[in-house]
């Protein structure tokens, strides 16, 4: 298909980038590599530097230190229009004085392609995103999802070596968001283009991307595939940002983690002395008093303080000697929900325990 890039996908390498505005350091010694053809995410809370890093790759920010490479080419000192990367803006940035077709054709015109080819390629791009029928509309006459697709078509039309997406789903309603993110992933796979996606929404990153760089406070906290991030978070920030955690007070004491009530769990070798025990709500088992604890588990007693209905699970807040713990219980037809004030027992499974530091 002619819409496929003519060249093989390229890697994007960020090397020891530091950027500050005055005294305010936005990016602190950031290094990472996006593999060729990978769908990569910069994930983090607002103000973590993810958009700044994306704009740096696009050429709209300048770093004080470090290099950016696209493929083997050092683009650090190139202007935006010399870089051959496509950026889809959060607000789409469609030009209101041009039609959909004119928007899509713009980059091709700037590349001084023959008129016939411009028309053909812009038409193909609109077909790719399913908007051929709306070619003569103005952007203001389109819905949010359609505008988003025009922005995508406009960017892909010039066959950029890298596709950058700045919170592309944030201006869509919840239902559209799910649909568009699937389309995005399918499109990226078909085109085989290297893509970087900026978002603060872990669900978006998890569902769309091959690998994620979790960022906080101008630093990369961890780079990993979504499931690895969830299962093996590198630190407390990553664990908290991707899902809910219970941090259970205590301290590492030789080969065990000693809780405030005196009970102890064995810790894996190499656990840092300042580490904290972290258990996810689904890794604590809520049991009646009749059953015996599973081997090696630690049993706590507590009182149900609150419950939230989350769809297929109920999340209980249970007050224990070790503080408030959150426990997710799958809803089944047979089980009756626990009442507020009811006494329950909790089993902490050492096999699911995470020992994390700040």
């Amino acid at each position: 298909m002619s819409i496929l890039p003519e060249t093989a996908p390229v890697a994007v390498t960020v090397e020891a980038i530091s950027l500050s505005y005055g005294d305010h350091a936005v990016l602190k010694d950031v290094s990472l590599q996006v593999k060729p053809g990978e769908f990569f995410a910069f994930l983090g809370p607002s103000g973590c530097g993810k958009t700044t890093l994306l704009r740096l790759i696009a050429g709209f920010n300048t770093a004080q230190q470090g290099r950016i490479l696209i493929g083997d080419r050092d683009v650090t000192d190139l202007r935006p229009w010399q870089r051959d990367v496509g950026l889809v803006f959060q607000n789409y940035a469609l030009w209101p004085h041009m039609t959909v077709m004119q928007n899509v054709a713009f980059g091709l015109e700037e590349r001084r392609l023959p008129r016939v080819e411009i028309k053909q390629r812009a038409g193909e791009m609109l077909e790719l995103v399913g908007l051929s029928a709306l070619a003569d509309r103005r952007p203001s006459q389109l819905s949010g999802g359609q505008q988003q697709r025009v922005a995508l078509a406009r960017t892909l039309a010039v066959r950029p070596r890298v596709l950058l997406l700045d919170e592309p789903l944030s201006n869509l309603d919840a239902k559209m968001r799910v649909q568009v993110r699937r389309e995005l992933r399918d499109l990226q796979r078909r085109l085989g283009i290297t893509a970087i996606f900026v978002t603060h929404d872990q669900e978006e990153a998890n569902t769309v991307c091959d690998r994620i760089a979790v960022m906080n406070d101008g630093r990369v906290q961890q780079v990993a595939a979504p499931m690895d991030l969830f299962a093996h978070p590198a630190n407390l920030f990553v664990a908290n940002f991707l899902g809910t955690t219970n941090q259970i007070a205590g301290h590492v004491d030789g080969a065990v983690y000693r809780l405030a009530d005196g009970q102890a769990l064995p810790v894996p070798p190499g656990t840092r002395p300042e580490a904290t025990l972290v258990l996810r709500p689904q890794d604590i088992v809520l049991v009646g008093s009749a059953t015996a604890p599973v081997d090696g588990s630690i049993r706590l007693a507590g009182r149900v303080a609150d419950h939230e209905f989350l769809g297929n699970t109920i999340r209980y807040r249970v007050v224990t000697e070790l503080g408030d713990l959150q426990i997710d219980v799958l809803i089944t037809v047979t089980a009756t929900p626990r009442k507020i004030g009811e006494m329950v027992h909790l089993d902490l499974n050492p096999g699911r325990a995470l020992y994390l530091t700040e």
Binding site: W95, H97, G107
Partner: protein, 572 residues
């Protein structure tokens, strides 16, 4: 305020307008009909009636187009307005572009220039410009000495174009600057990442997006120049439309149909340029700034670029300030003729002006103050009725008030004469000769400014803020007093100041209505002074005083309302 406080509930049933609302709306409608629609209708009717009245005829228009003087005046007016827009654009474009696109130190200074035309009537500058740029003015004398050439800046229509462009360019500058500032940075960045840069970026993205703002400014300049009568008259250019209308009515009388025909032509062109401007804006609200976005990317100027940019800006500033500089020199000059600078300086003109012209100043402050007061009362009331009630036809109050924009001052003046000269008060004094009529004309002319300011201010007050007040037990009246008006103060102040300042420098309607020196405002006095060579020194002194007076009143009202706002905001 009476109308506002008479309005009870926020949103009754869709049809439910209260008696107070209806009364307020009818009072406003009556005002607009009596002092805007009726006088203008009188002018229109007279243009289509044979001399002496009765029946319908197009013969007046045939006469108009058969008279060589009028046809020439028509084309001259078009030419001068068009050229003034062009020259004003040439002045504004570099200023707007440099200040919005680059890191530039003088940005504040250039933006301050926006108030310059508000505080000085253009015809005052015309005299000073003659002395600086005329055949024997400073610039041409120097050019002649050093290069042996002269440039006819001020000859005939050139002079009108030059003076008007320098006076009115801020309307284009402000609109263009705002439009440029409203373009989201991502618009530009999207083009850059697709390979577009430099001048192509400006031509393909930036300028098209700023176009509606530019057209709005250009249309405004076009109307202002087309309708201005004092500047051409002072430059001794009589063959233009607005001066002709004035001359016909004042020399031949209010029964002469030609004055009315010219008035109709003036109105038609006003409407045309307003239509052009709204056509340009329709469906093209390109204000694209998003949260966290903000304006074009400001770039640092390189060395040679900086020299060029500052050079261009300083040159333009000198040009723009020329009328003020010239006027200041003239006001202190003993004799200034055939020399680059005055021969000697004196304070005699100021002494003379203070002796003779105190009444002008008093009248100006009185008239402009009353007119601006009427304007904000009407402005608040109309804004409230339109935005916060379901009154049937409330939009028409807005349209009606805004229609004043399309009525040239000279036309309104003629309309008042025709409508109210025949009505005499007990004692035989014609209604049209009372000074309060001048105030009403000024109020009608400046109402659109105050109204837009009040509308904008009220739109920014969320209905929820009022509902919160009502919910906590405040009556409708107290909500208006404690929540709505305090939150609108900024807008009301802006409306008052704009109406006041522009009313203080108005001449085209006033010149028709002033009957005696005792009732005349400053601008009329200025005009009388400036017409004789001997009066120019005192005229310049009066002009400087006018500028200071208007600036001082504007500042004072600003401070007064600001203090009131702080006090009521602080204690209550």
């Amino acid at each position: 305020m009476a109308q506002v406080s008479a309005i009870p509930r926020l949103r009754r049933a869709a049809s439910g307008a209260t008696a107070g609302q209806v009364a307020a709306a009818l009072a406003i409608a009556a005002f607009l009909i009596l002092f805007l629609a009726w006088p203008v209708a009188q002018v229109m009717i007279a243009a289509f009636q044979p001399k002496g009245g009765g029946g319908f005829t197009l013969v007046n228009f045939a006469d108009f187009f058969a008279t060589e003087l009028f046809v020439r005046s028509f084309w001259n007016s078009l030419y001068v307005s068009g050229m003034a827009v062009l020259v004003a654009t040439l002045i504004s474009l570099p200023l707007a572009y440099i200040t919005s696109r680059f890191e530039f130190r003088g940005t504040m200074l250039i933006q301050t220039l926006g108030v310059v035309p508000l505080i000085m009537p253009p015809f005052v500058g015309a005299v000073a410009m003659g002395l600086l740029f005329g055949r024997n003015g400073t610039v041409n004398l120097l050019l002649e000495d050093y290069f042996g050439i002269t440039i006819p800046f001020m000859e005939g229509l050139n002079g009108v174009v030059f003076v008007q462009a320098i006076h009115y360019f801020p309307f284009i500058l402000i609109n263009l600057s705002t439009a440029l500032a409203n373009i989201d940075r991502s618009m530009e960045e999207a083009a850059q990442s697709l390979g577009c840069s430099g001048f192509r970026l400006f031509r393909r993205i930036v300028f098209p997006l700023a176009m509606p703002g530019y057209v709005a400014g250009a249309a405004l300049v076009f109307i202002k120049v087309f309708d201005d009568l004092a500047t051409p008259l002072l430059l001794n250019v009589k063959d233009m439309l607005a001066p002709q209308a004035y001359l016909r009515v004042t020399s031949i009388g209010i029964a002469d149909p030609m004055g009315y025909v010219i008035s109709v032509v003036l109105i038609v062109f006003s409407l045309l340029s307003m239509w052009a401007s709204s056509f340009a804006l329709r469906g093209r609200d390109y204000a694209t700034t998003q949260r966290g976005g903000g304006g074009l990317d400001r770039r640092r100027l390189s060395g040679p670029q900086a020299v060029l940019a500052y050079g261009v800006v300083i040159f333009i500033l000198l040009l723009v300030l020329a009328p003020h500089i010239g006027l200041t020199l003239l006001s202190f000059a003993t004799v200034w003729s055939f020399s680059p600078l005055p021969d000697a300086f004196t304070l005699a003109h100021y002494a003379r002006v203070f002796d003779e012209s105190a009444v002008y100043m008093k009248n100006t402050v009185l008239y402009a103050g009353l007119a601006a007061g009427i304007d904000i009362l009407l402005g608040i009331a109309i804004a409230y009725l339109v935005l916060r009630t379901k009154l049937v036809g409330r939009q028409w109050l807005d349209y009606g008030a805004m229609a004043a924009l399309a009525v040239p001052g000279v036309v309104l003046g003629i309309g008042y004469l025709r409508s109210y000269y025949g009505i005499t008060l007990p004692g035989g004094v014609p209604l049209a000769t009372l000074w309060i009529v001048i105030v009403l004309a000024l109020a009608v002319r400046r109402l659109p400014y105050a109204l837009r300011a009040c509308m904008a201010a009220l739109q920014q007050v969320s209905v929820a803020l009022e509902e919160a007040g009502e919910n906590l037990g405040a009556t409708r009246l107290r909500v208006i007093r404690r929540i709505v008006v305090p939150l609108m103060t900024g807008g009301i102040l802006a409306g008052f100041v704009t109406s006041f300042a522009t009313a203080a420098v108005e001449l085209s309607a006033t010149i028709m209505l002033v009957q005696s020196n005792a009732d005349a405002p400053l601008t009329y006095g200025l005009y009388v002074f400036m017409q004789s060579p001997a009066g120019r020194g005192p005229g310049a002194a009066l002009g400087i005083i006018a500028v200071i007076l208007v600036a001082a009143c504007t500042l004072a009202s600003h401070l007064l309302i600001e203090r009131h706002r702080r006090r009521s905001g602080g204690l209550r």
